[in-house]
Symmetry: C2
Subunit: 146 residues, 2 copies
């Protein structure tokens, strides 16, 4: 009996240890996000190339934007309107077939460094010419509605 109890105690401890582990995050996505953040803070002049040719973004308070040649100007517009820094913090990445689904939190800051918005995002990544590109990108604010 005692041996069994110890066995189950250890098993239980192991299971809980397993649950407590944070989800594994793909380093390729962390790297791609680093590129995204740098490109944005440097003027967001060519963000389209970070997206797949047939990418779509779903910006809050606007219509779906399709194609990376249209997505690039969207981010340039956001920069010109006062957002100077976008911080992406990956919470989880999950492989799904050839794609990777990422969830995370974002923070947007102005020229004075003050937070303008923060919220959540979900991105589907796909590999295009050997590089991970944003394929589907949607986000929303966690701040209370005005």
């Amino acid at each position: 009996m005692k041996t069994y109890s110890l066995f189950f105690l250890l098993l239980s401890a192991l299971c809980h240890a397993g649950q407590a582990q944070p989800p594994k995050i793909e380093s390729s996505i962390l790297s791609a996000n680093k590129t995204f953040m740098q490109a944005f803070s440097q003027g967001a002049t060519d963000m389209g190339k970070l997206y797949a040719t047939d990418a779509q973004i779903f910006p809050p308070n606007g219509a779906t934007i399709s194609g990376n040649t249209s997505i690039g100007p969207f981010w340039k517009g956001a920069f010109d309107m006062g957002i100077k820094k976008a911080t992406l913090e990956t919470v989880q990445t999950e492989k799904a077939g050839d794609q990777i689904i990422e969830t995370g939190n974002y923070t947007l800051a102005g020229a004075d460094g003050k937070t303008m918005d923060n919220g959540k995002y979900m991105v589907v990544w796909k590999s295009e010419n050997g590089q991970w590109k944003l394929y589907r990108d949607i986000w929303n604010s966690s701040l209370p509605a005005k």
Copy 2:
């Protein structure tokens, strides 16, 4: 030369015809969304069962909600606060490994039938006990910011 020209003309026509076709939509997802819409309009009392055990939703103007036992009450709360009808219109479904990624448009209406909000969503579906369940669910409004 003429034969070649005709061949390429036909090939080009076929390619364009292929491009013009709307994306194939999984009927299982259309069916699951129908269940979602019905369950919501009937009081949204048990929406949690439509979500995977370890599902997450990312509601605008609020924090991430994890687990279907917490997601259920969120939708009940939305119903009680005045949203009486949710319409989901799938734009695209795409298989990604064992999961399905869906993008679409939603409309929310009140008791008087008037539209309270409309916007876009992205859902990752996964099969749990042989049934398609919402696993990741994020959306945002297409209406101008107030």
